[in-house]
C-alpha cells in the first residue's frame, strides 16, 4: 500500500502500475478538462472585518455591545457600522467577522421576519431568540458544509419561551454554545474573564443587577479598546429586559443605544513603558 498521505490506501505503483484515477471519480487530481482552470474559489478569508461582540445576562435580561468599526486589514476603513441587529420585537443579533457576510445575514434575517409575519397571520407564534439562533446555526453550518462559509461569529440574545434570558453563540463552522457570559474574537480572551468575575457560575446571572452588568460591559469595551488594535472607542449597546408592571403583566423593553464612547481612559502607565515594555525601570 502507498503510505503517502495524499495517496493513502492506493495500490503501490511499483507493483500495480499507475493508478487509474477515473475509477469511481476517486481522483484527488483534477479531471483533464479542468487542468488549466484556476481552482474554484469561495470566501477564503474575511476582507472587511468587525471585531469582538461582548454580551452577558443579568437578572431580567441581556446586554450586548459591539463597536462601530470596519477594518480592512490594519486600515480603519469604516467607523459607522452597526453590528447589532434587531430581529422581531425582543431579539438582538450581534455579528463579528466579515462585513459583507454580515450584510448577507442582515438580509436573511429581514426575510425571516417578513415570512414570520406572513405565515403567522393569527399571531399565535412569536419569533424569539432561540428560533433565530437555531435558524442562523443551520444557515452557517450549511454554508460551511458547502465549503463556502459565511465568515462570522454571531451572538444571539433575547428571551426563551418561559421568559428567562437567552444568550447563545454560533460561528462560521456551525459550532454553537450557550453561556451567561459570551464574547467573540478577541473578546473571548480579554472580556470573558472580566465577565466571569461578575458571573462565576452560569446560574449566578439571576443575582446580577442591570447597572452592575452594564458597568462591567463598559469596562470590557475599554479593555478591548486598550489592547485590541482592531477595536474602536465608539460602540453600540443593546439592553433587552423584561419588567413586571404594577398590573402583573410582563413588559419587554428593547433599548438600542448608539454612538457611545469608551469613557475614563487612563494612559498614565504609558509614560513608564520604555523599549519593548519588558524592561523594568
Amino acid at each position: 500500500m502507498n503510505h503517502d498521505p495524499f495517496h493513502w490506501g492506493r495500490p503501490n505503483q511499483e507493483t500495480y502500475g499507475t493508478y487509474n484515477y477515473n475509477i469511481a471519480q476517486a481522483s484527488n487530481q483534477q479531471h483533464e478538462s479542468q487542468l488549466d482552470d484556476f481552482p474554484k474559489m469561495h470566501t477564503q478569508q474575511p476582507i472587511i472585518t468587525g471585531t469582538s461582540v461582548v454580551s452577558l445576562k443579568f437578572k431580567d435580561g441581556i446586554i450586548i455591545a459591539a463597536d462601530n468599526l470596519g477594518s480592512y486589514g490594519s486600515l480603519l476603513r469604516f467607523n459607522n457600522l452597526e453590528r447589532l441587529i434587531k430581529v422581531g420585537d425582543e431579539t438582538v443579533v450581534g455579528i463579528s467577522g466579515d462585513i459583507s457576510d454580515l450584510q448577507q445575514l442582515e438580509r436573511i434575517l429581514a426575510q425571516l421576519e417578513i415570512e414570520e409575519e406572513i405565515y403567522d397571520s393569527d399571531g399565535g407564534h412569536k419569533l424569539r431568540a432561540p428560533h433565530v439562533h437555531e435558524y442562523l446555526s443551520k444557515i452557517l453550518y450549511n454554508r460551511r458544509s458547502k465549503m463556502d462559509p459565511l465568515w462570522n461569529a454571531v451572538i444571539v440574545g433575547g428571551f426563551n419561551e418561559d421568559g428567562t434570558p437567552f444568550l447563545k453563540y454560533v460561528d462560521l463552522l456551525g459550532v454553537t454554545y450557550g453561556s451567561s457570559t459570551l464574547a467573540t474574537g478577541f473578546g473571548s480572551h480579554l472580556a470573558v474573564p472580566l465577565l466571569r468575575q461578575l458571573i462565576p457560575n452560569d446560574i449566578d446571572y439571576t443575582k446580577v443587577e442591570e447597572e452592575d452588568a452594564r458597568k462591567v460591559l463598559e469596562n470590557c469595551m475599554r479593555v478591548l479598546f486598550y489592547r485590541d488594535a482592531r477595536a474602536a472607542d465608539k460602540y453600540s449597546l443593546v439592553t433587552i429586559k423584561s419588567q413586571t408592571s404594577e398590573s402583573g403583566s410582563k413588559q419587554i423593553t428593547f433599548n438600542h443605544e448608539k454612538e457611545l464612547k469608551v469613557e475614563n481612559q487612563s494612559w498614565k502607565f504609558a509614560k513608564d513603558i520604555s523599549g519593548y515594555g519588558s524592561k523594568q525601570l
Binding site: F6, D37, H42, Q44, Y169, S179, S188, V192, D202
Partner: protein, 242 residues
C-alpha cells in the same frame, strides 16, 4: 492550474502549488463514556466545550435522550455532533409517524446510525458516537462508532479527548482485564460479572475526576444519563473548573 491542498506535513515537497483552504473542522474537546449493566445502561459526558486553549462554556450538554429510551452522544467536532443527533432524532420521529408509533429497537437504531455516518464517508462527521439503552431482553446495551460508521456492541466504551486515559481503566474495572484470582499465581482469571448501578456510577465519577486532573479539555461538570426499564433519568456532578 493544478494545485494540491496544504497539509500538516510542512516539510513535504510539492510539485504543484499548494492551496490554503478553509478548514471545515475544529476540535471542541470533551469526553464521553458509556457502560452497560445487567438491566441498565449509563452514558456520561463532561459539560465543558473548548476550542484551543479557550473554554467556550462550562455547561453545554452533549448527551441526549433521543426518544424510545435511547441515549446518544457524538463527541468531537461539536457542530457535526449536533447535526448527527438532530438527524437521528428527526428520522426517529418519521419512523414513528410511518409505523404507528412503534418503538425503535436499539439494535435497529444502531444500524441506522451506521448509515447516517457512512453516508458522509467522504466528508465525515468528525465525531466519536456512542448510544446506550436496553436491548430486546432488557439487558443494558452500548454501541460505539468511529467517525465513518464502523460500529460494535460493547460492555463499555470511552470516547473523545480523554478516551485514551479512561479506556484502560475501564478494561481493568469493567471487563476485569489483567485481574486474577488471589492465590492462583496469575493462573485463573477473575470471573466476569455484571456491575451494580452504584458501582458503575462510582466508576464513572472516578474516571471523569481523574480525566479532569490530567486533560485540559475535560472538566467543569459531569452529566450522566441512566436508562432503566423505568425510563431515562439525569444526574449532574460538578468537576474541577481549572
Amino acid at each position: 492550474m493544478r494545485t494540491t491542498v496544504a497539509s500538516e506535513y510542512s516539510a513535504e515537497v510539492h510539485h504543484v502549488p499548494i492551496e490554503h483552504r478553509f478548514n471545515p473542522y475544529s476540535d471542541n474537546g470533551g469526553t464521553v463514556l458509556g457502560i452497560a449493566g445487567e438491566d441498565f445502561a449509563v452514558l456520561a459526558g463532561d459539560t465543558r466545550q473548548v476550542e484551543g486553549y479557550s473554554i467556550h462554556t462550562r455547561y453545554q450538554p452533549k448527551v441526549f435522550d433521543v426518544g424510545d429510551d435511547i441515549i446518544m452522544t457524538a463527541n468531537g467536532f461539536a457542530a457535526d455532533g449536533v447535526a448527527l443527533i438532530d438527524r437521528f432524532r428527526n428520522q426517529l420521529k418519521w419512523y414513528k409517524f410511518d409505523h404507528g408509533g412503534k418503538k425503535l429497537n436499539i439494535k435497529s437504531a444502531a444500524r441506522y446510525i451506521q448509515h447516517l455516518l457512512y453516508g458522509k464517508r467522504f466528508f465525515p462527521y468528525y465525531v466519536h458516537t456512542i448510544i446506550a439503552g436496553l436491548d430486546e431482553d432488557g439487558k443494558g446495551a452500548v454501541y460505539s462508532y468511529d467517525p465513518v460508521g464502523s460500529y460494535e456492541r460493547e460492555q463499555c466504551r470511552a470516547g473523545g479527548a480523554a478516551a485514551s486515559l479512561i479506556m484502560p481503566f475501564l478494561d481493568n474495572q469493567v471487563n476485569f482485564k489483567n485481574q486474577y484470582e488471589p492465590g492462583t499465581d496469575g493462573k485463573k482469571k477473575k470471573d466476569l460479572r455484571y456491575l451494580k448501578l452504584e458501582e458503575v456510577l462510582e466508576l464513572v465519577r472516578d474516571a471523569f475526576s481523574s480525566a479532569t486532573e490530567r486533560h485540559i479539555y475535560v472538566g467543569d461538570g459531569l452529566e450522566l444519563l441512566i436508562v432503566t426499564k423505568e425510563g431515562v433519568r439525569t444526574e449532574y456532578y460538578p468537576l474541577k473548573r481549572d
